[in-house]
Amino acid sequence: MNLVTVENLTIRYGANTVLRHVDMAIKPGEIVTIVGPNGSGKTSLLRAIIGAAKPAEGQVIRKPGLRIGYVPQKLHIDPTLPISVARFMRLTHRVSPRDCAAALQTAGVPDLPERQMSQLSGGQFQRVLLAHALINRPDLLLLDEATQGLDQPGSAAFYRQIEDVRRETGCAILMVSHELHVVMSASDRVICLNGHVCCEGSPAVVASAPEYRALFGTGTGGALALYRHDHDHDHDHCEDPKEAAE
């Protein structure tokens, strides 16, 4: 059974229709990436899946008892709010210190539980958010532009962590990202969104689809080139001399 099935979903904010007749589904254990330009309704789709946005038409069917882990796009903690990493981990679920330590380990930040959230670096902060999302042993992990504010090595490391998480926990992952090349190499399936589903399929299929090219281009700056770049290391376009020599 699908973890989440989205049927004919339409979402409006006032007179503004952000999503039109979207159909999609997430199966257990798969990594699905949603790509799309700004304002294409990516975040709205995620909000609808967690129940934060009400459908104007259509419906979102969640598997009964589905556990969702959610990593928000941006989490602002007001400086007046003192909260340690360990306390943040217990925010929405009662957990034992051992489970808390295990989740922090899985997310790649094992040594921080006593630190205040305000003292974390951007990368550490995102990993703690990831750890918090994992603590309830979710069936489905949702990530909304989770690497915003990280530099390129930082976000690449973060996505490698995500693949490790899937391998270790077997949870399905639905993520929204604009970092097409990094994300697409890690995905089983890509959904290209622009108010509606433009195209959908394996990363290679989507990258060569005309709808996708119309949105993201095919030039050297385009995602197709970047995507290929990640997989073909036999040309000399590489910063790392050792890798270029191989």
Partner: protein, 265 residues
């Protein structure tokens, strides 16, 4: 020892401090400092109405404060900026309240008593209302603590955990209205916001967790009440403002202490 009225005043102040402490923390964390003002000023309108219709002051203030709180919550979800909205509501409701009071020519009201409170005139039944209201507020906030905290940090996180952050905000709003209504007699309309915000803000430099911040805020509010009333007794100063002054001095002291501690580490 203390005269009986001093004892009642102290207990009333502590009751308000207890209810205000956890709420004040949320008000500070969510940056809705003017929410206290808005509901409090609305309460003046409530006082006027209750005098006109000969209801209890507490009931009148509570009803109008609740209406105000609902209106603000509803409008803020319609996309108005919170600070603008609160500014409009706070000042216009105070103005409407004062105008409404002026229509009550038949009754002579000491408006100052409602603006600045009269903690020394607290009766046994007032004490019952204050402690009843405070207990209700503390119980509500303690019951929904985790959810309120999650909703304060991030709404989507709240939805993903399976609850509606708007409902939690409503709980916060209702608690604020109740606190304002019970606190009118103690510190008065103009100083309620101070009792909400100053102890919570002062507690920030002591606290390492949200819970310890709420507890510290309650402790600071209690100390401010006891010391402020004592000072008012000795120096013959107005009681409510004296309490707020002591709270402000504690805030200044702790902030300086926090700054110097930060510099040392």
């Amino acid at each position: 020892m203390l005269d009986d009225f001093m004892m009642r005043a102290t207990l009333a102040g502590i009751g308000v401090a207890f209810a205000a402490a956890p709420l004040g923390c949320f008000v500070v964390w969510r940056r809705m400092a003017y929410f206290g003002d808005a509901t409090a000023h609305a309460a003046i309108l409530g006082v006027a109405l209750s005098l006109a219709f000969q209801m209890s002051i507490f009931a009148g203030a509570l009803v109008v404060a609740l209406l105000m709180a609902f209106a603000v919550t509803l409008l803020s979800q319609r996309g108005y900026a919170m600070d603008t909205l609160l500014g409009v509501m706070a000042h216009s409701s105070l103005a409407f309240g004062l105008v409404a009071v002026s229509f009550l020519s038949g009754i002579r009201i000491d408006l100052m008593a409602y603006l600045f409170g009269d903690i020394l005139a607290v009766s046994r039944s007032d004490l019952l209302v204050i402690w009843g209201g405070a207990a209700l507020v503390v119980a509500l906030v303690a019951w929904r603590w985790s959810q309120l905290l999650t909703g304060t940090l991030n709404e989507e996180l709240a939805y993903a955990s399976g609850f509606d952050p708007r409902r939690e905000q409503l709980i916060l709003t209702v608690s604020l209205a109740v606190t304002v209504a019970v606190a009118i007699k103690v510190v008065g309309v103009l100083l309620i916001a101070a009792m909400l915000i100053i102890p919570a803000a002062a507690a920030r430099s002591l606290a390492r967790s949200p819970e310890s911040m709420a507890v510290s805020a309650a402790a600071i509010g209690t100390v401010a009440t006891v010391v402020g009333l004592r000072a008012a007794y000795i120096l013959d100063t107005p009681a409510g403002p004296s309490i707020v002054c002591v709270a402000a001095i504690i805030f200044a002291g702790l902030s300086l202490f926090g700054l110097s501690a930060q510099r040392r580490t």
